[in-house]
């Protein structure tokens, strides 16, 4: 059953995946077994994305399938899944920028790969990042920004983190439409990523696992 579920998700068969989960729940499969299958499927999706077989539509559909499946098995398992096995990541679109799509996709991919992600949303003030670093204690901070105004806002956010004495506690990755190596240097981030899987790879390398 879980093999069938893995294939259905990985091959983007949404209806089939949902009906398999419903059947598994009815037959008494443990929510953990279902979640493991989902995670394995997401690994396949991520690899196909890295190989250039899958693109944004598949990442978005995979995210929707994961959401639907979580909705079905939620009553079976309140917090049964150990969250953030791989580490904690703080995400947000920087101050002055209200774009969410890129950040949402990165957030979902990180979650699908076992990271616990706290998403601060869009247009996030500097102090909200520093507060969240203190409270949530992430290993990695991901800053997203679509517009060129992001260059300064990212730099200022990272400076604020440094001034709060928190810079050494976290690795910082940045990403977005106009972000490149030059912007990474300018903002004093640790790395930049071109896409959602780059964020997963960076986080894995930094945190391990």
């Amino acid at each position: 059953m879980s093999k069938k579920l893995i294939n259905a998700i990985a091959d983007m068969k949404e209806k089939e995946a949902v009906s398999i989960v419903e059947e598994m729940v009815k037959n008494g499969s443990s929510p953990m077994a279902i979640l493991d299958a989902v995670r394995e499927a997401m690994d396949i999706v991520g690899r196909r994305y890295e190989k250039g077989i899958y693109f944004l539509p598949e990442l978005i559909l995979a995210g929707e399938m994961m959401k639907k499946i979580n909705g079905i098995i939620k009553p079976e398992m309140e917090a049964a899944a150990p969250k953030g096995g791989r580490g904690k990541i703080l995400m947000g679109t920087i101050k002055g920028d209200i774009h969410n799509i890129g950040k949402d996709i990165v957030t979902f991919m990180l979650e699908a790969h076992g990271f616990e992600v706290l998403d601060l949303g869009v247009d996030v003030p500097f102090e909200k990042f520093t507060e969240a670093i203190r409270d949530f204690k992430p290993n990695v901070v991901g800053l997203s920004g679509f517009l060129t105004l992001a260059f300064d806002a990212m730099k200022e956010t990272i400076t604020a983190i440094k001034n709060a004495g928190l810079r050494d506690n976290v690795k910082i990755m940045i990403g977005g439409g106009q972000i490149d190596e030059k912007v990474k240097t300018y903002t004093a981030a640790d790395a930049f990523g071109k896409d959602a899987m780059a964020a997963v790879t960076l986080a894995k390398n930094w945190i391990g696992g």
Partner: protein, 445 residues
Amino acid sequence: METKQMTSEEKQDMMFNRLLSPKDPQGNDLAFKSPEAKNNYTASIKRIWDAIRLKKPDRVPVTIFPSMFPINHAKMTVEEAMYDYGKCVSAFRQYTLEFRPDVQWGAAAPGPGTFFEKLDYKLYKWPGHGVDPTHSYQCVEGEYMNEDEYDALITDPSFYFRNFYLPRVFGALQGFTMLPPFTGILEMYGLAFSFIPFGLPPVQNTYNKLFEAGAEALKWAGAMGGFDAEMTSEGIPNILGGFTKAPFDTIGDTLRGTKGIMLDMYRRPEKLIAAMEALTPIMINMGIASAQQTGNPLIFIPLHKGADGFLSDQQFRKFYWPTLQKVILGLIDGGCVPFPAAEGAYNTRLEIIKDLPKGKTMWMFDQTDMAKAKKIVGDNICLFGNVSSAMLELGDPDEVKEYAKRLIDTAGKDGGFVMANGAFFDRAKPENIKTLIEFTKEYGV
């Protein structure tokens, strides 16, 4: 000559020839500031027209297609420029005359703030209205068309836009939800029924708001037209005729949203394709009508969701390209020069987009490999852009010069290239802009 009997080639020639003898608002020949200004004006148009036709121009044309850079450069806030049209024009005047690009693109980028307010526009947040006064406006991504509304859109796109989409994105246009289809207005018997909604207060309120917004738009357009005429007299033409969109982006940007359209590719692909086909003639007419209105041939087509990394090759070929190609061909047929702007990178799309008539389009490239583009599509389309926003803001003049040199040597070899930025930008080091323009004028001969 009757335009209907003209070939697309003749229509394009006619548009460019008309540009060569600009008129003032009264229809008289526009007075140039000096004979030199007139010469510059004519030379600039011929230069870019040659580049588009893939002939070798006297030198590589150079321009900057900025977003809010002129506003920031003038030490103004974007909010000020949106609410004071005179200030907006003065910022663009300062920038255009200081840097003297071959062609300019008008002062319309900031747009009229009061007009957006009068309509209670909800699709964007703008400076002072949800974003910082110094920043550019930003789209509020969402599903403004529901997933079950495809049939309504396909059956009658104009009715759908008026009665469903517009009232969702403009608070002031709620009255439109009550309007009847105009296609029901046919004969005398029962005719008055169709007009009842116009007697109702919500509809009348909406029309009053429209009249006010229209008056504001006219005031703004007057300032914009005045700026273009002034720059023409200075010898710097504006050849931008208007804009249209790829049907995939029309649906993906502001109707269904990014997430919505990408799910629809899996959940209801036939409906999505039918809707894009229904929108195709509308997108073509939108471009042709604005070119006729402005008298300028270039129709800008910002391309968003077909870039490398967004869709697979197969998805691009199935969902994105067929209707975009039809829009481009339709515009060419109408005498326009389609000016698609491929945001992000388009390296994997080059083999597909080369299937276009020779010398009829100009493509703005952002992060595409220009040497590769020259090789694959250079025999068919004019290349434009590629100087990165990051370099213009964070780089130095030496870097800009080196990059520009490489572009001229590769993309600019034997013509068919216009030096410019690759994506819209709000900030840059003025010395980088200056270097880009002056170096191209000097080296690009």
